[in-house]
Symmetry: C2
Subunit: 191 residues, 2 copies
């Protein structure tokens, strides 16, 4: 039987990770987020930091034309392959919440998945980012812009789907308008 | 004080109109759908049928370059202007549900709006369309494709936003996966 999984894709700073953790807590099932990175790092031999950054530093389809991809898989591709295996392994174990890493796409035929997308306007996300991660030399607006661009490119490259299109998800919620707790309640009620 | 309005944008056949009506019923507030068409027709002098078809027959930005739009507003533009006025009038009256006609965009600064998008996969929609509207000489897949294309073009032209992007809405739900009744329950709980 297929396991019931909740996958959460999220805009940087939208609180998707927090929502995922809370949903898992309430449903008493595991939430895989940093565990995913740890396992991929372990199995690939790359550092956790490097694996973490890959999703946000993809160069996308256009630039990759100029890479060595035509001759051999590059690090991104190697990590992607291991990532798919790790996500499938976690999904095999039993019901769970998986945050990020295109899990919705990886599990599209393998699990009974509720595909969630969490987003919010830039102002709401900027405040959360500064509160959660602190300020850096780069403005928070610039950080959001860069991360989003890379995340969208990464998503597009490996899944061939448009990042953020409502039709790729079963539920898409604006956490800024609806509030994190209400998002948790809605997702929980759909499990 | 701003009135609380629920706007529902929907893919053809997704059940968005039915959901809107049920939400309004449960909240005991009016749902404007055909009333919108009637009022626009009345105020513009065009027939209801013509007003109804305009949203699905927009030629979009590209083709309109070759229209007479540069010299004078065409029928689409005249109807759009009246449509904005009618939507604002309805929103002034009190809390309500408004289905379609880019109401979310028209009310973006004028009302306390919950912006909903309802979508579903083609199989689910095809079944609902054949059950609800019957078969025609044109295949249901072709009807969906045509309507979607026109609706997206219309939306894009007047709002300059991408049709179906989750980030344009507070809540986006797949009515095929979640079920119409559960969609109603979620939207109602957010009012």
């Amino acid at each position: 039987m297929k396991n019931r999984i909740i996958t959460i894709s999220r805009e940087f700073g939208s609180g998707g990770r927090t929502i995922g953790k809370k949903v898992a807590e309430k449903l008493n099932i595991p939430c895989y987020d940093s565990e995913l990175i740890e396992k991929i790092a372990l199995e690939s031999g790359f550092s956790e930091e490097y694996v973490k950054e890959i999703e946000e530093n993809s160069r996308g389809r256009f630039l990759s034309l100029f890479s060595n991809r035509a001759y051999a898989p590059n690090n991104e591709d190697i990590i992607w392959k291991i990532q798919c295996k790790v996500i499938l392994d976690f999904a095999e174990k039993g019901p769970c919440v998986i945050v990020g890493r295109c899990a919705d796409y990886v599990l599209r035929e393998k699990a009974d998945c509720l595909k969630v997308f969490i987003h919010a306007d830039k102002k709401f996300r900027a405040e959360r980012i500064v509160n959660g991660y602190g300020e850096t030399d780069v403005s928070v607006e610039q950080r959001i812009k860069e991360k989003e661009k890379r995340r969208a490119a990464y998503h597009r490259f490996y899944t061939d789907k448009k990042w953020g299109d409502a039709r790729n998800y079963d539920v898409a919620l604006d956490s800024g308008v609806i509030g994190l707790d209400k998002c948790v309640e809605i997702i929980k009620s759909l499990f």
